[in-house]
Subunit: 289 residues, 2 copies
Amino acid sequence: MIITIVGLGLIGGSIAKELNNRSLGTIQVYGVDKNPSHGEKAVELKLVEKVISMEEALAESEVMIIATPVNIIEKILPHILDNLSDNQVAIDVGSTKSDICLAVKDHPNRKRFVAAHPLAGTEFSGPEAAILNLFHGKKNIICEKEKSEPEALEKALKVFEFLGMNTFYLNPEEHDKHLAYVSHLSHVTSFALSQTVLEIEKDDKQIFNLASTGFASTARLAKCNPTTWTAIFEKNPDYLSEAIDVYIKYMKKYKELVDQRDWTGMYAAISESNKISGVLKGIKQNIKS
Amino acid sequence: MIITIVGLGLIGGSIAKELNNRSLGTIQVYGVDKNPSHGEKAVELKLVEKVISMEEALAESEVMIIATPVNIIEKILPHILDNLSDNQVAIDVGSTKSDICLAVKDHPNRKRFVAAHPLAGTEFSGPEAAILNLFHGKKNIICEKEKSEPEALEKALKVFEFLGMNTFYLNPEEHDKHLAYVSHLSHVTSFALSQTVLEIEKDDKQIFNLASTGFASTARLAKCNPTTWTAIFEKNPDYLSEAIDVYIKYMKKYKELVDQRDWTGMYAAISESNKISGVLKGIKQNIKS
């Protein structure tokens, strides 16, 4: 069985690595990447057996997994579906779902496509960032499962099962709304935090000597790839804007509590925010490998 | 040698645990805590040999380490200094320094006091949160070292060396300004993020199924103790308010980029925020023990 990964970055590379290293030779893993140095690196790191062209991939693969930035997925997916036969499946693993699903809504081959989003990642990017176990024990979302042929869906589920994931189902709008709050907003808060501290650093070189694990945790996502994340924001602007609005409202409330020296109100607000612990408990951390 | 830890929470408890477990019996570690159940727990967990009263501590200890919330440090420190003899040292380990230093500025025993802030912590609290290696390889700040007698300073440095820390020197104002940006602000951003997502969750119970490692990282500090953190904010309101202001400015800029669909500007902003990587590289993570 040949599985081709299109886009050999953090996510595509980690899927490739898992399939290539743990399928005991039952799966041949090929790669497609428009960046030749990414392709070479992916072969060198044994993420994929070889790098092929999109045309070769369309001719040879039983499964194609599309892991490019989301704006590119939207662009290349119709062309991929144009060329798929009835024993081939295309799966996308992009972090937004509405525009991608919309782009192939009326495509005659829509049934050979599965729209997915494995909820996993790190702050690093490129083929060098690919790690084993990235997906293990984490959640995968599939959207519009009713639009995929049962046998195509089944194949996709097997891939995500192989990666150790549990699959849930949502419609694309719900997906994009939820992700704006629990993922995309977290990235914006990290980017803004990073820039705030970098601004102060212009006047004061010593400030970073004092950064500790708390700062590292909240600013970690500020290392994320700008191409990947600009595309995600571009494909989810309305929900993201709404989430940033609610967030700024709370930041302003904290500023007001500080400015009014309202420490009873501050205690109450922090206690309220503590209720997130139960949620955080359920989140599996990345296993080093 | 008897060292007494006043306040057996995360920080005091972790200092006690380190001293009690790794001094090979050369140090007797006692504890003072106004909460009897914290005291009992600290003895049960072998953080301290026994719990004693403040009066006993003042009579018997060579070194007293004060690790209560910062507003309490400010209140009890003058009383502690009133009762210290010339062979005793008091060290505070609070996260703000200006008001604490101000409270004992003209105290006749100021020279027996060392104002310190070991830059370490986790999101957990209480004696159960105490861990070994919390301080290892991390930075410690001492303020107004010229106001401590050389021999008292030397004793404090030995304690922080024992914990595996490197000590730096800052004045209290600089300390409080820097920490507002690289620590206190991070906590506010986490509290606000947690409340934003909890607000959405009222309408949508499913949202938390989708929270992943990125959210966990940025919202981790929202588990922090409200008593500890209300006191820190209360003791550093001006710098914190300034830091929140700068931060809100950047959050508004991100909202504007999204609302104006300015993806070139977005790419540039994220790239700018990426410059934080160099800083984050230098931060040592907590070692599990």
